[in-house]
């Protein structure tokens, strides 16, 4: 009898712990709304209050959030797949076949993983397009902003996403996988000076074999996701330190015009002594009552909606389109035509179109289309924020007049990539010859 109250007390204590973990979706007071963010680990990376503008559906289209949700789906579906997949050249293809045809819901896990991967490539790219067109990589007026750095982290995340996709579709060890590694690593070997060594290191030898598969497996399941997680965390942290989404800077610009209140000059922050004013203090010049709402539930609710929507779309696509699996890898027969996944077809077009002969010297398209052109695009994207001298009034403004010319140049590049992708996807047939969609492909002997 004596132990009874203790157990009860312990249970009550457990309840209190639970209260600390959960939060309310319907706060009744400002205090409750603030507490659910500040006192909660899961929500602590949000500000307690958030501007209405940054919650808007059609400023950001929530593309970053969607990317993050897709990445979460990829982690969750990837874990059971890691238990089921065997990274050996003898068994990889058969284990994927098992996942597809004998494991309960295996087809669904693999399908969802594949669909979210495709969507993630698309959405991360659209996120980049959005940030560029809205001038959101530019610093506004608040102190210590470094949005150009966050733009560079974003580009790195896009490249990591592409590498994750590349290493991912190699794992089934089917024909697509084998010939994609062949072409991919030969592009690497076209790199000046270190090319051959790079190919040898990537393959773990001079031919595509077990060493290659296990390398891409470890990259796909450990190093690349780890890189995405770390950079994603930094990406989010920087968004906070840069004073939120770029459109918020417009608010403080407008507000400064209407009333020039003295800026608070607090020189300490929550975590200790730091020099200068913190961004948090700086952004608080935005009239809170007029422009902001509590993050809980306004931000958390939309976040839940976006997550649900993303999951729903991915699941529907998974059920509608079953993931394909080509014939088992066969080093002796290249499929005809051998096509990369859609997001690499613009590169496949480029390496096809860019072999040039100048004065008797022939330069392989692998070097120009496979290394120089993508390299120049990445470098240009990285330095762009430092070259963009448009006024601060364009920060976070879609298609701002003062940035019209650079937006047009950017859109032309995006359009060129899309056109090449479409040509590669729909207009290329056997031997990479050009066919209109209404032209039928000639029948080809299977082997030679």
């Amino acid at each position: 009898m004596a132990t009874k109250p203790t157990v009860w007390a312990r249970l009550k204590n457990q309840r209190a712990t639970w209260e600390k973990i959960k939060w309310t979706w319907v706060p009744e007071t400002n205090r409750e709304a603030g507490d659910s963010v500040v006192r909660n680990f899961l929500l602590h990376w949000f500000p307690a209050k958030v501007t209405r503008q940054s919650l808007s559906w059609n400023y950001s289209f929530w593309l970053g959030t969607i990317s993050a949700v897709l990445f979460l789906i990829l982690i969750v579906t990837g874990i059971p797949l890691m238990f089921l997949y065997v990274p050996s050249v003898e068994r990889a293809y058969l284990s994927v076949k098992d996942i597809e045809f004998t494991v309960s819901f295996g087809w669904f896990l693999r399908g969802l993983h594949r669909v979210s991967a495709h969507l993630m490539v698309a959405v991360v790219f659209l996120h980049l397009v959005r940030v560029f067109l809205a001038g959101a990589y530019k610093n506004g007026t608040a102190a210590k902003q470094n949005r150009p750095l966050n733009w560079i982290i974003g580009i790195t995340l896009l490249l990591l996403t592409l590498l994750l996709s590349f290493t991912g579709y190699l794992l089934p060890w089917d024909q697509l996988a084998y010939w994609a590694i062949t072409v991919g690593t030969n592009i690497a070997s076209a790199a000046p000076v270190v090319g051959e060594q790079l190919r040898f290191f990537l393959l773990g030898g001079s031919t595509i074999d077990q060493n290659t598969l296990i390398r891409f497996y470890v990259l796909h399941c450990f190093f690349l996701p780890l890189g995405v997680l770390l950079l994603f965390s930094y990406h989010m942290w920087r968004v906070r330190k840069d004073g939120g989404l770029a459109c918020v800077d417009q608010l403080s610009l407008e507000q400064k015009k209407e009333n020039a209140q003295p800026i608070k000059s607090k020189t300490y922050s929550l975590l200790g002594i730091a020099s200068g004013r913190t961004v948090h203090v700086e952004t608080s010049i935005v009239d809170e009552d007029k422009h902001t709402v509590a993050s809980s539930p306004n931000l958390t609710r939309r976040l839940l909606l976006v997550s649900l929507g993303t999951l729903a779309v991915s699941v529907v696509l998974t059920v509608l389109f079953r993931a394909p699996l080509e014939a088992a890898a066969n080093p002796t027969v290249t499929p005809n035509p051998a096509k990369a996944p859609w997001y690499f077809l613009w590169l496949q077009e480029l390496v096809t179109l860019t072999t040039f002969t100048i004065g008797g010297i022939t330069i392989n398209g692998a070097l120009i289309g496979g290394i120089f052109v993508p390299g120049i695009l990445v470098v240009a994207a990285i330095v762009w924020p430092y070259l963009d001298k448009s006024p601060v009034s364009t920060v976070g403004v879609w298609m701002a007049r003062a940035r019209r010319r650079q937006n047009i140049v950017f859109l032309i590049i995006v359009a060129a990539i899309l056109v090449l992708t479409i040509v590669g996807t729909y207009l290329r047939g056997p031997y990479w010859d050009f066919y209109w969609p209404w032209q039928s492909w000639p029948t080809m002997p299977r082997k030679f």
């Binding site: 072409v183 020099s275 027969v333 499929p335 496949q348 392989n364 030679f448």
Partner: protein
């Protein structure tokens, strides 16, 4: 420590000055305070240790032994090769026989390494490849990016930057089998006469 610039050095400045001349030691004409010297040695040792581990990590992934197929291999006795071209599938080479001469053309596209496909022509075609005229029975085409080659391996269309490799052929003295040596690339006009 929010700010990187105000690192340890600035904080140590509030301690009794380490820069006073009697506390400094002279090392090779450079004035270093003892504290600075020790901190640099410590930092250097740490970096060296991490660098060493990193080297070991990366070096272990460069294989010392390759369990790969040999680059020199037998493809069969001479009577197995009749007039014309034959594809040795698992070795990715074509063996050509013209009466009593043989030569070997690689099936690996010189653009990005896919296996080219041999297309047999219905009737011999007269072509001019780099000044040399000859009749060809077959041509090669690559399914990945559409490179095209004449029967002698000379590229004439698509992104391939150079002709298909030709490999050295020998006859093994012990059993009379044809031997291909893919580690030795020979001129296009190389012929093994038997």
């Amino acid at each position: 420590m929010r700010k990187k610039k105000s690192g340890p050095e600035e904080i140590t400045a509030s301690y009794p000055s380490p820069e006073s001349p009697d506390e400094s030691v002279k090392t090779g004409g450079v004035n270093l305070s003892r504290r600075k010297l020790i901190s640099r040695v410590g930092l250097g040792a740490t970096l060296l240790a991490i660098g060493g581990q990193a080297y070991a990590f990366v070096r272990s992934l460069v294989p010392n032994v390759l369990y790969e197929d040999p680059k020199r291999f037998k493809v069969g006795t001479l009577d197995q090769f009749s007039e014309g071209a034959k594809f040795i599938e698992d070795k990715r080479v074509f063996i050509f026989r013209e009466k009593n001469t043989l030569h070997c053309v690689s099936a690996t596209c010189t653009h990005l390494g896919c296996t080219v496909k041999m297309q047999r022509l219905n009737q011999p075609k007269r072509v001019n490849a780099g000044g040399r005229e000859f009749d060809e029975q077959v041509e090669f085409a690559c399914p990945c990016h559409g490179s095209k080659y004449y029967g002698d391996g000379t590229n004439y269309s698509g992104p391939a930057p150079r002709p298909l490799d030709h490999f050295k052929l020998e006859v093994a003295p012990e059993d009379g089998q044809l031997v291909v040596d893919t580690s030795e690339i020979v001129r296009q006009d190389f012929r093994l006469t038997v």
